[in-house]
Amino acid sequence: MRANDKKHLKKVLDQIEVQESSTHFEQRIYQDWQRTVAKTEKPNHGLSEVLVLARLHPKLTALIAFVVIAASILLGQHLIASQDDELHRIDALSELSLSTI
């Protein structure tokens, strides 16, 4: 009964023609959004700007964090390895100097 009622009424109400909205109506709403959101989200300093960006792009933030961590690990390994080489070289040099003495 209610479904039929609804169908019938929808048919009746659809006959009232709606005047088209202005051409830039959605654009105006978008501008309002820019003003409203910019007012509440405007960062005060550089760090908050980074935080707002991070909140907006969580996937990109995770990727950047992963790349930074991986790069730090590789750099650390490289530094440790090069330090070992340096120690070996110093050892060899001191042995050589001792043998010459």
């Binding site: 019938h8 709606v18 005047q19 909205s21 709403i29 309002d32 959004w33 959101v37 907006l56």
Partner: protein
């Protein structure tokens, strides 16, 4: 309304959150999704372009500002229509200042089936006139229920009423509309 948000409601909630966090793509999606049906509803409520556009613009500003209160327990449409409906009713009140608007009786009457025997060819003007005879609350409930295809529960959520009161409001609105349309029809045939 359910206790926990459904999947669709969670998607809408996430979309609105992104829009409010400053994501312009999400905001455009929300605007595109809601603006046109909300404009049609407001236009049918208020009857002119300027008022309808003003109401929808104001409703969006309220939506951005109150996005945190949208918990996803109802759909985004229902949440937004609640804002639009309040703004439309406020505007009608301010336009009709000083004029008496029919009070929607609260006593409950048994809801009976309504026989629709109105001919197909009722003119849009007669329909508009008949709609104008309804009280603003009846008109709003009728438009949300029949034109926007919302359920009585959703209409209740949007208008801050329980389902029984919405059913009563709709029943009285339908009776009145039917009577007005039949009156219009008999005038036309005379």
């Amino acid at each position: 309304m359910t206790l926990f948000p459904s999947k669709q409601h969670r998607i809408e909630q996430a979309l609105l959150k992104r829009a409010v966090a400053g994501d312009s793509k999400a905001s455009k999606e929300v605007i595109h999704l809601l603006s046109s049906p909300a404009y049609s509803l407001s236009w049918k409520m208020l009857g002119n372009k300027e008022d309808a556009e003003d109401v929808v613009q104001e409703a969006f500003i309220r939506l951005w500002k109150s996005a945190d209160s949208f918990a996803g327990k109802s759909g985004l449409f229902t949440y937004f229509y609640a804002i639009v409906s309040n703004l439309c009713l406020d505007r009608i009140k301010s336009i009709n200042k000083g004029f008496f608007e029919e009070f929607d009786e609260i006593e409950h009457q048994p809801i009976k089936e309504i026989e629709w025997s109105i001919a197909e060819g009722v003119s849009p003007e007669s329909i508009k006139k008949a709609m104008d005879v309804l009280s603003s609350k009846q008109r709003m409930a009728m438009l949300m229920w029949a034109y926007q295809d919302m359920t009585a529960e959703e209409v209740g959520l949007a208008m801050g009423m329980n389902k029984n009161s919405v059913d009563q409001l709709l029943y009285r609105a339908k009776l009145k509309l039917k009577m007005e349309l039949e009156k219009g029809e008999s005038h036309a045939s005379e």
